[in-house]
Each structure stands twice: as C-alpha cells, then as structure tokens.
C-alpha cells in the first residue's frame, strides 16, 4: 500500500515536470532572427513604383493607402559575422543590404519578411536614415509603426540625409567593421562632443508632440567613399522638414536652445587689423526672459560664452596683451549676436520654432497661451511675429600654451 502511494507521487511529479519540457513560448534562437541594424527610407523612383509587393493588399480587393510608394533599404546582421572582439580575421561582409518597397513602413516590413527566411527583428535597430525628400514630404506616416512596435528602441538615432538613404546602407566606413554601428555611434558621439544637441528618435517624438516647439534632426552628407559629414541641422515644421542650417549654425542653435556643451569654433577678426584668430566655444550660459510687448510675444535672450583661442592665423600679429584679448572678446560677441539674429530670422521665415520658445510661453504665461494660442498651428503663426532682444557676452580665459 505504502509502496503504491510512493509511486503515485512519483508519477505525479513527472507530470508536473512535463510542462517544463515545452520551454518558452517566445523562445527564439539568435540565428533564426534577421536582426535589422539600420533602415534607410527613400521615395521609390519610377522603376520601383512597379515593384509593389501585393503582400499586405491586393490590387483590386483590398484597398491600399494613398500616396507614393517608399523604398526601404535595410541592413541585416549576418549571424556569426559580427565581430565581437578585436580583429577576428575574415574579409566577409558582416551585413546584408536589401531593398523593398511599400506604401507604409509596416507594408515595407511585411514585404521584407516575405523575402527572407528568418523572422525580422527590430530590437537592435540603431539608426534610421531618412532621405531629404521623404523628410520634406512629411514623416508622419513612419512614426505610427515605430511607436507601436515594442521592439523598437526609443534611443535609436534618426537622421536626414542629402543623398539617397540606400547609399548610407551600402557604405563601408573604414573606422568600424559594422557600418550601421559606425553611423549610429557617430550620431551619439556628435552630441557628446558638443557638435550637435542630443538627438534620438524618442526625443524627436517628444518635441514633435509638444505644442510649443518644432523638431530638428542631424543632416548628413556623404563626402567621399565611406566618409560621412554632419552638414547641418534639419529643422521641421510639424512633421515636414522645412530647411537646414550650415554646420556652424548648429553651434548658434545650441546657444539659443541653452545647451551648455560648447564645441564649435569660428574665425574672428582682430579689430583694427586684417588678422584672424580662431575662437572656440568651451561652454555657454543662457538666460531667457519672456514677456508680451504690444500684444506680441517677446523674448530677451542673454547668452554668455566662455571661449578659448585655439589658433591665430598669422605670424605678424602679437597676441600677448590683455587689451587685445578684450577687443577680441567684443568682436566675438558682436559676430555671435549677428549670427544668432540671422538664424532666428531664418527659422521665423519658415515658421519653425526649433528653439522651443513656445514651450516657455506655454509654461510661464499659461493665461496668454490658453486664451490666444492653444494649438501648434497658432503658435507657428505667433512665432513668426515674435520679437527679440539678444545680448551676447563673450569671455576668453584661455589661450593655450603659447606666450605670443
């Protein structure tokens, strides 16, 4: 009897262990996944237009969204070929580049899945490159699926490219074995070096959603084979790109926005001479006051620069006098003020408040905001009438290790 009971328990235990054999429902082997590392989005050209996949819709029976097709180029990691440590030898390409077309991003992803055996996995997506034309036409249709899909990282980078985005996918930069990682790291490091304000896709969405500011993205261009350059800052109005700045204006933008990390340098003419010195910004301090003047929004901006002199461009001039330094400071401040005003005027003309002045008005003058503005469109209009006072103060504290 006792023996029977014992074996009964044993059998029961076996049954209890049985479910463990089945393992995890969501188990997925690494090499069964197609890890998408980067996505480039272009407008489909005439030839590509005809490649419509008819996977997510049929020509007649299922309606399809209006608008042009887009071409999506992806970089997929090939299992086992991503180098993990220092050089592991082998000259094989670590990634596979593919192009598909689709009406929306999800449509393109479905078409992509139709063409590869492994399951498409977006959890390692590091960078999304948008062609300038796509950005100008409007990025709205891309964001929904990116927000909805739980695999997407909010910290992935989003950039605008001058050339076709597909070219970026095919690039083979010499500095890194995995091209897309190089691209993504480049964008991340640019903000660490003070070359660009922080920028990632989550931040883009946050700014795009809020009513008193417009989004911005890095604007890249390909120089020679495999070399990418940060060519400026693309600014948006709602979801459409409306313009771009020069690289130096990124620094100006950061000053107005209130980013303290300096990085840009500029030539400044030494007063009363023809000589130039290179003045580089180390850090900035930004104070902004907002008010209403004659019914219009008005801002008073006070920016204080901490600079250093990196180089003087001539041998004749002497730089060993605190008075000369003072005059350079003044000249610097004057130049900076001019470029700041120019940039504000430029964005005002486009109706794109990339600086986020509107957020200040919304936060600090809620009565004005609620009675007169309320929506993003209204603010874009009010921003065009915004008046401003800019005061710039530059201080040069360092000149390096040279006495003259």
């Amino acid at each position: 009897m006792r023996h029977n009971k014992h074996s009964l328990v044993l059998v029961l235990v076996f049954f209890l262990l049985l479910p463990l054999l089945s393992g995890c429902w969501d188990a997925m082997e690494m090499e069964r996944r197609a890890n998408v590392l980067a996505i480039g989005i272009d407008e489909a050209d005439e030839i590509d237009q005809k490649k419509d996949g008819e996977v997510a819709h049929l020509k007649d029976s299922f309606l399809k969204p209006k608008g042009k097709l887009m071409k999506m180029t992806v970089q997929i990691a090939i299992p086992g070929r991503i180098p993990l440590g220092p050089d592991q030898g082998g000259e094989q390409k670590p990634v596979l580049v593919m192009s598909v077309v689709g009406h929306t991003l999800e449509d393109a992803l479905i078409n992509l899945q139709q063409q590869i055996a492994d399951q498409v996995f977006l959890g390692h997506l590091r960078i999304i490159v948008l062609n300038e034309k796509v950005a100008k036409r409007g990025t709205k249709r891309l964001h929904d699926v990116l927000r909805r899909n739980p695999e997407i990282r909010r910290t992935a980078a989003l950039v605008v490219s001058k050339e076709a985005a597909s070219q970026y996918m095919k690039l083979m930069p010499g500095l890194d074995r995995v091209p897309s990682l190089y691209l993504a790291d480049m964008v991340d490091n640019l903000s660490a070096l003070g070359r660009f304000p922080p920028s990632f896709i989550g931040l883009f969405w946050t700014i795009y959603s809020s009513k008193g500011q417009e989004a911005y993205l890095p604007y890249l261009t390909i120089k020679q084979k495999g070399i990418i350059e940060l060519k400026g800052l693309a600014y948006f109005k709602e979801d459409k790109m409306v313009g771009k700045t020069s690289p130096l204006e990124i620094g100006v933008f950061m000053a107005v926005k209130g980013d303290s990390e300096g990085g840009y340098g500029a030539f400044v003419q030494v007063p009363d001479t023809d000589e130039m010195v290179m003045v580089r910004v180390r850090s900035r301090k930004n104070k902004m006051k907002i008010e209403r003047k004659n019914g219009l929004p008005h801002i008073r901006l006070k920016i204080r620069y901490e600079c250093e002199i990196d180089e003087k461009a001539s041998f004749k001039m002497k730089l060993n006098d605190s008075r000369v330094l003072k005059s350079i400071e003044k000249e610097t401040a004057k130049d900076m003020k001019k470029s700041i005003e120019k940039l504000i005027a430029k964005t005002q003309a486009a109706g794109s408040d990339v600086f986020g002045f509107g957020e200040h008005f919304r936060a600090k003058l809620p009565q004005y905001w609620n009675s007169e503005i309320k929506t993003k469109e209204n603010w874009a209009r009010a921003f065009q009438q915004l008046t401003y006072d800019v005061k710039v103060d530059a201080k040069i504290h360092r000149v390096g290790m040279k006495a003259k």
């Binding site: 429902w25 739980p150 990282r153 909010r154 959603s209 957020e359 200040h360 919304r362 936060a363 809620p366």
Partner: protein, 368 residues
C-alpha cells in the same frame, strides 16, 4: 498560540507592496489625461484622498481591534445590513483581482512575450496567487516583507537615471488648466490606492493595533511618494502631449533610459521582470482579502479551500474585457465606483459608530 504577530513595520511593508502594483504603468497616463501639466498635483490630490480613506478605515480598526470590516459592520449597522454591504466589498475586491490579473497579462503580451497566449500569462499569475493564499496571515506578511525591496528599487533606479533627459519646462504650469477634469483625475488616481483596504484584515493580527495609524500613514506616503516621483519623472521627460500617445509611460521611460557606460541600453525588460513581483504582491493581497472576507462572512473555519474554489471565477472575469481599451475603460469605471466602497462606506460606518458610542456613554452616565 499567539495570533498577534504582525509588527508595525511589517504592516507598513504590506501596505506599500500592496499599493504598488500594475497601476505603476498606466498611472502617469491617467494623471496626464485628466490633469495635463497639473498631473503631479492630480496625483498628490489622489494620494491625499486615498490617505483620508485609509485613515478612516484604520480608525475603525482601532475602535474594533479584534474584528475586520466584515465583522464589525454587523455590530455597527446591524447584522443583515452589515452583511449586505460586506457582499459589495467582497464583490469589489473579487473584480479588482480579476482586472489586476488581466492588466498584467495585457502588458506582458504587448510588451515582451508576444507569442504567449494571454490566457497562459493570466493563469500562471493567478495560480501563483491562488496557491500562496492558502497560507495564514503571518506567512502573508512575510511574503510581502520579503519582496518589498525588489519592488521599490527598480522604480527608483529608473527614475534616477531618467532625470538626465528631463526638461523642467514640461512640468509648468503646475496647476493644470481644466478643473472639472482634474477632479475626475483625482478620483481615478486615488482608486489606485484601493489596495490599502487590506489594512482592515491586518489590524486584528497586529501586535499593537494602536500603532496601526502610524503604519497606514507611512505606508501610503511611501507608496504615494513613489507614484508622485514617477509622474514627475515621466512628465518631465516626455511632456504631456507625448504622454497622451503612450499607453504605459512608465514602461516607455524604462525603454528610454540607459545605464551609463553602454552597460544596458534599455531597461524595460529588466524593469518588467521585476514589476512582475509587484503585480504578484498586489494580486496576492486582493485575492487574500477576497477569500478571507468570504470566510468571515460565512463564518467558515478555514479559508484554504476557498482559494481554489474562486480561481475559475476570477479567471473568467479576467477574460471578459474584449480588448485593452475596453479593459481600461472598465478599470477606470470600477475604480471610481469602488471609492464608494473603500472611502464612503467606511466613512459612514465610522460616523454611525461614533454617534452610537456617544449615545451609549450618555445613557451609561445617566444610569449612574
């Protein structure tokens, strides 16, 4: 055998781990939907309302240190009326248990385990709570104590690391714009504190019931403080407009937050893994409360059997909402309606009890 074993600190821990649960994920969205930039204020008001309810309940408990709301309501408003009201209390926590399990399953299926059927995640979680509920109230308190640090730590870490991306402008103006909406928001938020009702079955087992009020206040301010921190962090990182687009802002916050030095580029998976324990303790409490109260209502000796008996009913209830939007509409409605049970009903009981006592004392002094 001494049945009064729960210390004040243990009671506090039970409260904290019960209150912090599934609500952590959608809480900032609820607050922002109704309060806009006033979300932290709405949360604070909700916290205050929840605290008032808890204080009332604790006072009742201190006045009747041997009994729970199921038993002393019979003394206060009469046997049958008391039992009738208790039925609603039990029903409410029964529904709450089902909805908690469902909300948990919904998050897991949408966020991490996409292939796993919803039913499986819900069953596993419910079964866990169901089996744990067979223990007595002392083991109940040990389990809560054991998990408490695991519940608090991840939220604090995510909040601390995310402040790097914060923009204080998003928090202003502090007083939101729409007052009637803010009032509804306050009710919705304070519904998230309803787990604190568990206090009523803890007090009879406390070593020192007079300390219960201390435990209540500490418990609700720590959990409420954590909620407040979360709302402030999410609003300052995302801004109110972006948050309205996100179902679970807290989860999204964890996804945006990276541990410095490229150690972890997103924290959501780790956060979710730990959040499971927080859900478990909440579910455990409401399940325990339901069967414990049924036991007392029906004067059964033991609550163990009830645990399995209720399981299928709770599971079916959890499966009722057709989709996630319907579920949240339901949760919000049930939560707000539940305030009648968790705040108004104890409030009435306390008032009647107070008046009755005075009359008793008055008649007693007349006699002497």
């Amino acid at each position: 055998m001494n049945t009064r074993k729960i210390t004040t600190i243990q009671a506090t821990a039970i409260l904290i781990s019960t209150i912090i649960g599934v609500g952590v994920l959608p809480l900032p969205l609820f607050a922002v939907q109704e309060g806009g930039t006033g979300a932290p204020l709405v949360t604070f008001l909700g916290l205050a309302l929840g605290a008032i309810g808890l204080v009332i309940l604790t006072q009742l408990g201190i006045r009747h240190p041997q009994k729970t709301i199921i038993t002393y309501s019979e003394d206060i408003i009469g046997k049958w009326l008391g039992r009738f009201c208790s039925l609603f209390v039990i029903l409410f926590f029964f529904i709450l248990t089902g909805l908690t399990a469902r909300e948990f399953g919904e998050v897991v299926v949408a966020g991490v385990l996409q292939e796993t059927p919803l039913e499986i995640t819900v069953i596993v979680m419910l079964l866990l709570a169901c089996i744990s509920c067979r223990n007595n109230i002392n083991v109940f308190s040990y389990i809560h104590n054991f998990y408490l640090p695991i519940i608090l730590a991840p939220v604090l870490i995510v909040v601390a690391l995310s402040l790097k991306n914060a923009n204080l402008l998003y928090l202003r103006p502090i007083i939101g714009t729409n007052l009637p909406d803010m009032f509804i928001g306050t009710l919705t938020i304070s519904a998230l504190f309803q787990g604190s009702f568990i206090m009523t079955i803890i007090i009879p087992s406390m070593k020192n019931p007079n300390q219960a009020i201390k435990a209540s206040l500490w418990g609700i301010s720590i959990s409420g403080g954590l909620y407040l921190l979360l709302v402030i962090a999410t609003v300052s990182v995302f801004g109110t407009e972006e948050m309205k687009q996100i179902l679970w802002p807290t989860l999204e916050l964890a996804r945006t937050t990276a541990v410095p030095g490229n150690v972890l580029q997103r924290l959501d998976v780790i956060f979710l893994a730990v959040w499971v324990t927080a859900v478990f303790t909440t579910l455990f409490s409401s399940y325990f409360f339901t069967i414990y109260s049924i036991k007392q209502l029906l004067h059964i000796q033991d609550h163990k059997m009830l645990s399995y008996f209720l399981f299928p009913f709770i599971f079916i209830l959890a499966m009722l909402p057709q989709n996630i939007f319907q579920m949240y509409e339901f949760i919000k409605f049930v939560g707000r309606a539940g305030l009648l049970i968790t705040i108004l009903y104890p409030g009435l009981l306390l008032m009647i009890d107070f008046l009755k006592n005075r009359r008793l004392k008055g008649s007693a002094s007349q006699q002497t």
